[in-house]
Symmetry: C2
Subunit: 117 residues, 2 copies
Amino acid sequence: MNNFKKINLTNEARQELHDQLGLTGAEISVNSLPAGTSIPFVHSHKQNEEIYAILEGEGSVVIDGENICIKAGDWVRISPSAKRQFFASKQSKLKYICIQVKANSLEGYTMTDAIVL
Amino acid sequence: MNNFKKINLTNEARQELHDQLGLTGAEISVNSLPAGTSIPFVHSHKQNEEIYAILEGEGSVVIDGENICIKAGDWVRISPSAKRQFFASKQSKLKYICIQVKANSLEGYTMTDAIVL
């Protein structure tokens, strides 16, 4: 496998990056929910922590029955077992990144994992 | 630990999210390099794969001596051992997300890890 891979995301459709980038430690998707729509199901995870970055628009996420407002600039961590469903507001689309990683898999990071040359 | 955590990033300074969000499978930083500047060192990693999402602006990244142009909408995976350094262009800042995950840590994902309720 090459030491790096670059792609460009040019459209609004849902993109899943695991295979496109050759990821081994995460799955990442870039998503855009049109105004007034939602993910059509509630889901949780077996092993994976999810981290959501809201890039554009606003909406809400229901987590274990609690309704949380979200807007551009927000980041949300959700534990594997939590039941979640995302909604765009009636007025705007909701564009967001979803990062899936195995919970408790990170060991060192930044200054304990980096080698400065 | 709560089943979720939400934060809002309101300014341009570098933000490291591991502690703010209580992450256990990743470290994520949001960064903005002013026009004409660069990360002041070359680095690699011991264990961690890095994934970069370019949010705004343009610039370049040198990976193992190869110069790669980057702009908003680009995503780049970099293997742990690759030597890397990021530069903003002279004309624009470079705003990007950096996601650190342990290489080869992901097991199932999406349909093999999700539980649809």
